[in-house]
């Protein structure tokens, strides 16, 4: 078995130590803050360059919109670079500290409570990986417009056919904002999927309530008419759906849950410490 020369090992150790240094994390975060702040007026002025990022995916966007508009997209490359460096730094720094807590013969009483901040750090890494996966792996089908109770739409692959009907719409009834009187809060769209085997599946879709079918999410993008009284232009009715398959969504959702767990463990540790402190102070109070 070949052994690694001592010089290389020392160099690797040095790189590991430097890349996990806390001052580096602070410097990268401050640079990222400045970079993101600089981006505000650029996005404000060139919003149409950035909107397609969600539709075409990261790689296509970077090689088209991003590459040919560097005058106002340069900050995005800075953000990517900064996030990669911060990811490496966070991984190294957190792993060092977790090893110090969980390493052999190092576990002390209450070790679990000390993991709170580290769970949060790992959660951020999971979330950022999820975002990256979402922007690179997600598949977005071209936007679809359907007519309620109209002809079914052929979906790609094994998805079959899709038709839309309306059941039990919910109308705004508050009269607190006169503009919204008789508007649909939930237009009550039912999506009926008919698979290649002829089996039908019904799903409800509304704003913020996507319908899920065979790994694809169907989001309600828009609909007409908005108002239950007016029938729009010549009674024209339409439902616009955006259809996405995002295998990485679960990753950043897990990251969000992990972060929430980290906060709970951290708060539990603070509570435990405050109880320990008050227990230590009690004898003094009595005396």
């Amino acid at each position: 078995m070949a052994t690694v020369p001592g010089g290389i090992l020392k160099l690797l150790k040095k790189i590991w130590t430097v890349s996990g240094h806390l001052d580096l994390a602070v410097a990268i975060c401050l640079l990222l803050a400045v970079d993101a702040a600089l981006a505000y007026p650029l996005i404000q002025k060139h919003l149409t360059t950035f909107i397609p990022l969600g539709e075409v995916g990261l790689i296509t966007w970077v090689t088209t919109y991003g590459r040919y508009n560097l005058g106002h997209t340069f900050w995005f490359y800075g953000l990517m670079l900064g996030l990669i460096l911060l990811g490496i730094n966070t991984f190294v720094c957190t792993t060092n500290r977790v090893w110090a807590i969980l390493g052999p013969k190092r576990r002390r009483k209450g070790w679990l409570y000390k993991l709170g901040p580290h769970i949060m750090h790992y959660a951020v890494l999971v979330m950022v990986s999820g975002y990256l996966g979402s922007y690179t792996l997600a598949q977005a089908l071209p936007g679809r417009a359907l007519i309620p109770d109209g002809p079914p739409l052929k979906l790609p692959g094994e998805l079959g056919f899709l038709s839309v009907s309306v059941e039990n719409p919910v109308v705004y009834q508050g009269q607190r904002l006169p503009f919204f009187d008789n508007w649909f809060l939930d237009p009550g769209f039912q999506l009926t999927f008919t698979g290649p085997d002829g089996r039908t599946v019904k799903k409800h879709v509304a704003y913020n309530k996507p319908a899920r079918y065979r790994g694809y999410n169907f989001y309600l993008s828009d609909f007409y008419p908005k108002n239950s009284v007016s029938q729009g232009m010549a009674g024209y009715k339409t439902v616009k759906l955006s259809i996405r398959r995002d295998p990485a969504a679960i990753v950043y959702m897990v990251g969000i849950l992990l972060f929430a767990c980290g906060i709970i463990v951290y708060l539990a540790d603070l509570y435990r410490k405050s109880r320990l402190t008050s227990a230590k102070e009690k004898p003094h109070e009595i005396s």
Partner: protein
């Protein structure tokens, strides 16, 4: 109704600030500030009541004031740390300043949109103004640390930084869940203000790490104090609308 409440809480916070100008902050200014916070909470309630079940638009700045005052009264009311009276005066001034901004550059004319009828959208906004208020308090403590050279101010900066950071992160996470449910994306690039959220998160991540590890005391106090300017420029100014001067009085009654 909203305008009466908005102008009222601005004037009340202004009076509280002017009464707090002498070095000894009497109970009058504190009581006025409590009244102002109640009126401002009423203003927020009316805005929410009108928009419900949707989320009222551009509340991120105007809704900061009452929470800033509540946090300020909590942190500057007890103890004997030097600069507490000055801190309270600064809180009242900032609340007054936010009221002036909302009065002269209002953005209260936007109707909410249907996609904001979500618990995650509501939570995103609520955590946002709680986070801003806590960050402003940490900024005031940072300024006091620089002015009074009191090392004990550090623990207060750290506390309010942590509170603000938790609120801000929760705001971002609930915003991401809302974005996923509404658009299928973790970040929607339809609004430039999304990068202001990120910028502030990075800024306070850096600052929080400096404070939690006790590194570079001078730099971290300067950065904490500069958080006041950061929040106003990066997170409050983008929420302002066109100039409306003199303030609109029609339809007040």
């Amino acid at each position: 109704m909203e305008k009466i409440l908005l102008y009222s809480w601005t004037v009340i916070f202004g009076l509280a600030f002017f009464l707090a100008l002498p070095s000894k902050t009497g109970p009058a200014s504190t009581n006025l500030a409590k009244l102002g916070a109640l009126v401002a909470l009423g203003y927020i309630f009316v805005r929410y009541y009108r928009a419900w079940p949707m989320t009222p638009m551009f509340m991120g700045s105007v809704a900061v004031a009452p929470f800033l005052v509540i946090f300020g009264l909590i942190t500057f009311s007890k103890g004997s740390l030097p600069g507490r009276n000055l801190g309270r005066g600064l809180v009242f001034f900032l609340a007054f300043f936010l009221g002036i901004l909302a009065t002269v550059w209002p953005k209260d004319f936007y109707l909410p949109f249907l996609k904001t009828a979500s618990i995650f959208s509501q939570a995103h906004l609520a955590f946002n103004f709680l986070g801003k208020a806590a960050f402003l308090i940490s900024g005031i403590w940072g300024l006091l640390a620089l002015l009074t050279k009191n090392p004990k101010a550090d623990s207060q900066i750290r506390l309010w930084l942590a509170v603000g950071f938790v609120f801000w992160t929760m705001s971002m996470l609930t915003g991401e869940v809302w974005s996923y449910l509404g658009w299928g994306l973790p970040v929607v690039w339809d609004e430039a203000v999304i990068v202001c959220f990120m910028a502030t998160w990075f800024f306070y991540t850096a600052l929080l790490h400096l404070f939690l590890t006790g590194r570079h005391p001078a730099i971290r106090q300067i950065l904490a104090a500069s958080g006041l300017i950061w929040i106003v420029v990066i997170n409050i100014l983008p929420d302002l609308g066109p100039t409306r001067w003199p303030p609109e009085l029609s339809g007040l009654w």
